[in-house]
């Protein structure tokens, strides 16, 4: 009974409140008017004021704003050097030059496979969600072949294009058409080694793969707990990047001149047999088959291993005593090569591109030019380290001061190999990941793995 009375009282109270609200004077409405062009209007308003003076008010009519979506990853919000995080700076330069353009980050996964799949999902649905994107060189053939990237040659200022190293721009061309501007940042694979240990044992930095094995055998006689050679071999796209370096290092290539798969050539089989041997004989630990890049990085900088294959970005913090136990004890050289092979570094160069389905292509191009210009590229260098395609970056005094290892990186950059040139890059590399990983984990022979891979790749490339 008591509860019911309380309920009735609350109900009556709510009714009274509703009636009072209904009887209250109407709240003035605020209406925002959007016009097409940004103009500053001067409106003369006459008001009756107590002193009976005329007052002139200036009213700024709000301009139309354009929101551009940019597909990038979480590192755009981080800086590892003296400059602000790239996204913060990129937004700042856009706000200064184009105050009516807002940049929204569409966060992409760090896993390149997932990122690739996200982008293709947008495009297959002809979805305009993404205007601008950060794109890696090895996706270019696939994306450009499908017509998902806007050609840039006749749209970007030629003076700006002239500032870029043509060799870098070629990475972002497909059938002669430039579809991305960069790199804004690039990673390239090379060989890190423990300089202190090699010097102690009177060994030279390795030139060939056999040199690495010989050095490990010598050093580990006295240091049996020390690892020999670490590199990330988890089944993902990075595994294919690392394998490409071995493939070229043994004299192999991706395709024959007639377009058929050459990844099961004797050289290619030798390369994969060598990689498999590293695991079988314990030169590379079996656990590396589940390692991503950071797992292998950590082991090298914590002094657990003699050699490590990875990208140059480790140089940015390898001498930071808070993060590294091998400060000043390392060297960085091009990856080894057997006689007949070439020193090969797989390039992971990232650039800016405009989606073919963007609803705001003109604005996106303006922003792309701004991001491709020197100030933004310099900020990338100071926030993330090299490699940038804009040549003026390397004459900037701030950049030179912040990058004492630049000459080393230039040596490694010369060993860049082309990524696998296929419009079916995602499918082929996924297939290779599975086959290579099966061989490395000892489930099938290297020859069988590559023969199976090539049979499937030829079907994918040329049809059944």
């Amino acid at each position: 009974m008591k509860a019911r009375s309380i309920f009735r009282m609350i109900l009556a109270g709510l009714l009274i409140l509703a009636v009072l609200t209904a009887c209250a004077p109407a709240t003035p409405q605020v209406v925002e008017k959007v016009v097409e062009k940004p103009v500053v209007q001067t409106v003369v308003v006459t008001k009756e004021v107590p002193v009976e003076k005329k007052v002139v008010e200036t009213v700024v009519v709000p301009e139309k704003r354009t929101q551009l979506s940019f597909a990038g990853h979480q590192y755009f919000n981080m800086s590892f050097g003296p400059a602000p995080a790239p996204l913060e700076y990129m937004r700042q330069v856009v706000a200064e030059k184009y105050p009516n353009i807002d940049i929204q980050l569409i966060m992409q996964p760090l896993d390149a496979n997932k990122w690739h799949d996200n982008l293709t999902t947008y495009w297959m649905a002809k979805d305009p969600t993404v205007d601008l994107l950060y794109v890696v060189g090895y996706w270019i053939t696939e994306f450009a072949e499908a017509g998902w990237l806007m050609p840039l040659d006749d749209k970007v200022d030629p003076a700006l294009l002239a500032k870029y190293d043509p060799a870098y721009l070629d990475i972002f061309r497909h059938n002669g058409k430039l579809v991305a501007l960069g790199p804004a940042w690039g990673g390239i694979g090379g060989l890190y080694y423990r300089k202190d240990l090699l010097e102690k044992y009177g060994l030279k930095p390795p030139e060939t793969y056999d040199d690495i094995i010989a050095a490990c055998d010598t050093i580990r006689k006295d240091n049996p707990d020390l690892g020999c050679w670490d590199w990330p071999a988890m089944r993902n796209v990075v595994l294919v990047n690392r394998w490409s370096e071995f493939l070229h290092g043994f004299g192999g290539t991706y395709f024959n001149k007639d377009g058929t798969c050459a990844m099961n050539s004797p050289e290619a089989v030798n390369a994969l047999e060598f990689m498999t041997m590293l695991f079988k004989k314990g030169y590379t630990p079996q656990e590396a088959l589940s390692w991503k890049e950071e797992d292998a990085n950590v082991r090298f900088v914590s002094g657990q291993t003699i050699f490590f294959t990875g990208r140059q970005d480790l140089l940015f913090w390898i001498d930071d005593p808070a993060k590294s136990k091998i400060v000043g004890k390392w060297g960085f050289i091009p990856n080894p090569a057997q006689p007949g092979g070439r020193h090969a570094g797989f390039p992971e160069f990232w650039a800016f591109a405009v989606s073919a389905y963007s609803d705001n292509p003109e604005e996106a191009l303006k922003v792309l030019e701004l991001w491709g210009s020197l100030p933004t590229m310099k900020n990338f260098n100071l926030a993330w380290g090299p490699i940038q395609g804009h040549s003026d970056v390397y004459t900037d005094p701030d950049v030179l001061k912040a990058n004492p290892n630049l000459p080393l990186i230039e040596e490694i950059a010369k060993t860049a190999i082309p990524p696998l040139p296929s419009a079916n890059y995602g499918e082929i590399t996924d297939l290779l990941q599975a086959q290579i990983h099966s061989a490395l984990s000892g489930q099938i022979s290297p020859k069988q793995a590559l023969d199976d891979a090539c049979a499937a790749i030829d079907v994918i490339e040329k049809g059944p």
């Binding site: 649905a125 089944r235 079996q286 656990e287 589940s290 657990q304 490395l440």
Partner: protein, 289 residues
């Protein structure tokens, strides 16, 4: 009147459940690469299904998924039942706390849980390898995620840890619905604890067990995150799952035709499992007339 109430749900289910299934079925008969425009695509009949059946990798993934489903559901049921009985036996005040504790592993997103287990199994930093070495059972940490046999069972362990608690919660609800007077009557008749469990608890809990096992089996057949997060499908293709195939063909390869055929084959498998279970459950449920 009843029909009117059903209409909104019917529209919802038709739009978001049956329409995609029908569309996927249609796609599975066409050659669709980087486009879903099936009206302008080449009709290939059963060719996509033949490709699915010929795929060795798919057969491997089918074997792993089936083994994973049987093992995880069996262990989760046994552990979940133990958890439920233990929780039900304690003082009601403590029961609430235990229920909250039980739900924690299940509430963790699958991919986060996979990352957590990746660290536990890590050769250098993982606790399992350390404990095995510390106890002298092994001379070096086992390759939990790179040895084919160990990788399969590592995924199963991680999955059982995560999902047994969910089984426990559902079975706890089932236990709470068993009338206390049946237990009292059994006690008066002289039934001991094990006898009461076997002859009272289990038969009355059976409908709940069957429904729980049905749902968990269907989830297990569609498993993706645990394998992706822990091993990436490796070593080789050992821990590739059925769902991985449909995903890859749709999103990585952009081959909607073959991807749809994979999706339809998986769908039919899941439906068959569901039919078997539902028939079994029906016989054990007593509906009120």
């Amino acid at each position: 009147m009843a029909v009117l109430f059903i209409i909104p749900a019917l529209i919802f289910v038709t739009l978001f459940m049956y329409y995609p299934i029908v569309q996927t079925f249609i796609y599975s008969f066409f050659s669709l690469h980087r486009t879903a425009d099936w009206l302008n695509a080449q009709f290939v009949g059963l060719q996509n299904y033949i490709a699915v059946m010929k795929s060795e990798a798919f057969r491997g993934a089918f074997g792993f998924t089936l083994y994973y489903t049987v093992m995880t559901v069996a262990f989760e049921l046994a552990i979940g039942l133990g958890m439920a009985i233990a929780t039900f036996s304690v003082h009601p005040r403590l029961r609430g706390i235990l229920r909250a504790v039980l739900v924690v592993p299940w509430a963790i997103p699958p991919i986060v849980s996979a990352m957590l287990w990746r660290w536990l199994f890590h050769a250098d930093a993982g606790i399992f390898g350390y404990l095995l070495m510390a106890t002298g059972l092994v001379s070096r940490p086992p390759a939990f995620l790179t040895d084919p046999t160990l990788a399969v069972h590592s995924i199963i362990v991680a999955s059982v840890w995560k999902n047994a608690s969910m089984m426990g919660i559902l079975l706890l609800a089932g236990l709470a619905s068993i009338p206390q007077d049946i237990y009292d009557a059994a006690k008066v008749d002289g039934a001991r604890t094990w006898f009461r469990f076997r002859r009272v608890t289990l038969p009355l809990l059976l409908p709940t067990i069957l429904v729980t096992v049905l749902f968990r089996s269907l989830w297990a057949l569609r498993m993706f995150e645990e394998s992706y997060g822990l091993t990436g499908g490796g070593p080789g293709t050992t821990t590739d799952t059925l769902s991985t195939f449909a995903y890859k063909y749709f999103f990585t390869y952009a081959r909607f035709g073959v991807g749809s055929a994979y999706a339809m084959v998986i769908f039919l498998m899941v439906v068959m499992v569901a039919i078997v279970y539902v028939n079994r459950v029906k016989g054990n449920l007593r509906f009120k007339e």
